[in-house]
Symmetry: D2
Subunit: 345 residues, 4 copies
Amino acid sequence: MFKIAVVGASGYTGVELLRLLVGHGGIEICGVTSRQFAGQPVSEQFPSLRGCVDRCFEQLDPAEIAQRADLVFTAVPHQTAMQMVPELLDGGTRVVDLSADFRLADEATYAAWYQEHTAAHLLAEAVYGLPELYRAKIAGARLIANPGCYPTSAALAFAPLLANSQVDPATIIIDSKSGTSGAGRGAKVGSLYCEVNEGFKAYGLPKHRHTPEIEQTLSDLAGQPVTINFTPHLIPANRGILSTCYAALVGQAGQAELHGLFSSYYAAEPFVRILPEGQLPNIAQVRGSNFCDIGLVVDARTNRVIVVSAIDNLVKGAAGQAIQNMNLMLGLPETQGLRQAPVFP
Amino acid sequence: MFKIAVVGASGYTGVELLRLLVGHGGIEICGVTSRQFAGQPVSEQFPSLRGCVDRCFEQLDPAEIAQRADLVFTAVPHQTAMQMVPELLDGGTRVVDLSADFRLADEATYAAWYQEHTAAHLLAEAVYGLPELYRAKIAGARLIANPGCYPTSAALAFAPLLANSQVDPATIIIDSKSGTSGAGRGAKVGSLYCEVNEGFKAYGLPKHRHTPEIEQTLSDLAGQPVTINFTPHLIPANRGILSTCYAALVGQAGQAELHGLFSSYYAAEPFVRILPEGQLPNIAQVRGSNFCDIGLVVDARTNRVIVVSAIDNLVKGAAGQAIQNMNLMLGLPETQGLRQAPVFP
Amino acid sequence: MFKIAVVGASGYTGVELLRLLVGHGGIEICGVTSRQFAGQPVSEQFPSLRGCVDRCFEQLDPAEIAQRADLVFTAVPHQTAMQMVPELLDGGTRVVDLSADFRLADEATYAAWYQEHTAAHLLAEAVYGLPELYRAKIAGARLIANPGCYPTSAALAFAPLLANSQVDPATIIIDSKSGTSGAGRGAKVGSLYCEVNEGFKAYGLPKHRHTPEIEQTLSDLAGQPVTINFTPHLIPANRGILSTCYAALVGQAGQAELHGLFSSYYAAEPFVRILPEGQLPNIAQVRGSNFCDIGLVVDARTNRVIVVSAIDNLVKGAAGQAIQNMNLMLGLPETQGLRQAPVFP
Amino acid sequence: MFKIAVVGASGYTGVELLRLLVGHGGIEICGVTSRQFAGQPVSEQFPSLRGCVDRCFEQLDPAEIAQRADLVFTAVPHQTAMQMVPELLDGGTRVVDLSADFRLADEATYAAWYQEHTAAHLLAEAVYGLPELYRAKIAGARLIANPGCYPTSAALAFAPLLANSQVDPATIIIDSKSGTSGAGRGAKVGSLYCEVNEGFKAYGLPKHRHTPEIEQTLSDLAGQPVTINFTPHLIPANRGILSTCYAALVGQAGQAELHGLFSSYYAAEPFVRILPEGQLPNIAQVRGSNFCDIGLVVDARTNRVIVVSAIDNLVKGAAGQAIQNMNLMLGLPETQGLRQAPVFP
């Protein structure tokens, strides 16, 4: 049994990591930290975990926890992650970081969209943990930058198209919608029930911070710099991201041909489900699971393709993908602990 | 007091018409019909209206109701409307039709997207009831085609841009999201609470029937044929439409200039609210009201403008706009009965 | 036109008061205060009110605002209210206080359930503003204690029974459920969307602070001290309170007789709707309105009566009732500004 | 590997059985029937199960499926179950019936609350499948009557009190609230999203059909006939039942003593979690899991105890409990396939 620690477990990503780790079978949880709740039982903050995780939050001592754990998940805000990751790695453990701090390979881009980077020496080493695109590199990595939720949904929607030069990269528009857990567990008026419920809005326009992360992956796929429009919206639902992705086709590929392309591109992927022609994804159908559902249509009137992808932002968009990366790093079956069917309704 | 009848009042548009008419002050309800519920008290189907509308649903007799009413709202499905509207007009009343049957001026387009038209002789006479664009024609009309909910949100978002040649019409993408009341009150599995709640999906791709209606208005504004992509989605909320509208700018207009353009274009409109720069609309802020809120941003990186518009699909997207048209037709103040502040939260 | 001020208008009760006052017709808003947002446009905090309330929040100066306003609504927390109300009254204005500070006639009871009272000299003067029970006293009052939301729903459910000695007061159990706006607009983790949505819980057991307020009214109706169980729950909805009320019958009155009793007791009340036998209320059917819907059943097997009442907690449970009181105090028609039909769906 | 069939798998209970069986590990699904959808892939009706259950719905042939399966779940409406269960048993398989048809031991009671029973000869044999109370009998049973969702929540809340004569059975009131999946997947107007969302209501008063089922279990616990009031309500949420249970204490037991009683009564139960004093359950904390969470308070003012229990109606209230019964019948570990932590948020 590998020993796993979760650092910063008091948010929604943290509780989801614990939920999934509890049922994993190949690991044991050896530490759960939270600055804010250190000393409290985990089940006091998260009564759902009573009887499942019966330990207390601890204060983080990076060097000590690096000793204790074979692998550490850091589920902390950006800027906080870059402060603790170097020490964790120095302590000899491996890290899957769920923040944005190691996702952008280019230090200047990071500085432009976030702030100064204080652990930029690790950027070259960090591997972007999207297994469907970078599986080979993940296994041997010491530090995984776990992808953002929106970028995961966008990258999986565009990979077959860009890798096969089917669309004009200059025409890409990504209109994404996220459940509210993506906004975190911080006590903000904008996240109150009465502010979100029966509402729907766009936010962060036109420069949400996931934009450069999406552009980095799409550029890698296209083999050329790609600039996009990315518009996130807030859904009155707990979980789920749906991205509606638009691009102009460069050739004459029709619906059937592109559907075939997606199907073969992802044929071996355990967590990507290409829906039958005529069907489109719904976040309700992936809830609680690590699946990414994809549907697509070609509009012959405008010669555009519209790809719709759906994930659970807390699973394939965060904790599930982190565990998928962990499995690859530890030599466990990639799908271990992640085969749950979605919870519907 | 003008006498007003509501034909087909057993759906969500019907109950919303009744809600708004009850508080109007300048009219009296003289008839409420429903094939399905004829003979039942309105308050049995709609307990919200107990003490507000104390009459029964009747069977429709078009000729008789045309005698009784100065104006009739037809809140029935397309195809049903075209059967009853001619007889209502022949009976000497005026009609605001909330179906799609008289919205498309071109008979062939209607046939291509719906089915054969059996009252095509009225298409030339019918006025598209979007007061912000066609106010002058509405006053004198005998038959108003009340706009669809999505088309209203799209037309108001693009009007200042197309009327002033600011965007390339070939690049228009409209990503819309609607509350569930837009799906009607029919008992379908897909509209059940457990199917919609905690879900989000796109539907009707790539050829939702509101597409030609939107294209008709945008073409009129642009002075040239416009072909668009329109993608509707279903929000787990009762009411509201939010449309996120993309287009490539043709000139160098910046954020401030375009914001100024919208502000002056709609300066005299009582129901269009251009939000301050940096603010974006939310369907929660127009709930129950006839307002259309609009925000916009320019993305200098891609030279695209993104306009976001929000309406209540049952008010400005249906019943409220219908009453606005009624006011214009009857010579009443345009805003009478429609000045309610939105219900928040 | 009477001049009205709203003190503490930055919460959900405040915005609801403004929404209803905007459409009232017989008053004008002469001041809107908020410690936290003084200087900001009201529409920045509440975009729903853009174009409806175009003024800024002010700092409160009680003496000055008492000069300016014929009547002041104080929509502030308990303890804050008792500090400002004396000064407002001294300044010569009338006050409808929406806090709990003047609802309990007995100073010791207030101290036991809240804290020391610093304006206890006003308790004897304050009139409990439930018009259906205390209409006559309200008109002449200088200070109205606007009832709590739960107590309103409970008092209206039990009044006909207790006033007519139909039930054993020792057996009263009130199981209430409230929408989330009742928890206020404070940024607390427990009120976050993801904590409330898809959840349901009881809270405040067994001694929620509305208990003595309910007991005071029920005791007054029964003519003897009444002790109850009151259990509030949180509904994942914005608005609405539904109270399910149980009591043992003392006689042999059946369903029809008690239904008749309720119907005649409330026959003249404009805002109480007794549903037909066999129908039960739903908070969805009173949303946005000042109605209290009541249904009842007798269970012959247990000889208990079950009364179910539904109100909108922000309207009949707060702002609407406050305006009803204002109308009575100012000699306006009691229903002015409060005749809106509920917003459904 | 045991072979398991699900009969009537097209409803919410059916899809939940499949979700849980997919991850069970000790069984394989050998048949999935649905009259309505026979021939269709399961994943067409339930896209959540794509890649998890890749088979089609079949027509039911009871004799044949009895051959094929070691155990059959019948997830069909009452009255339908009594028609097929005898034939299944005759075919030599064991049955866990999720309908109400075999829950009431007394034929006359069944006839009074439902209709004539056509398989009454099996009532004596059927075992009521609430493992916490009847574990010993379940293992050897050929036919399990899987308890109703409300009755499960009520029985577990009252068992320690009645088994220990702590409350007066004549004073029991059970105020229950259920998520909407309890209403099933039938296409009814009352179950539409817009009818349920932002609503809350009581229904089925005063004689909901779960009443005699609850009374049967409580009577068994009390050793005397118990008559109760049971009031179900509809929560605008997909899943979850919360029951607020009231009874008068017969002795002087205080909070701590009763809390201790519950803790020791359920000490060995894997699926009952007694919350620490001062905490109350929330349906959000058991979502997707087989847990029943219980909290309790004593109100010294009225000498009543209030017990609050929460389950997921589709898991401990249906499919999960059915699998718990299956495990006991097949000699598998009772918790196999049921150890998932709840999904929060």
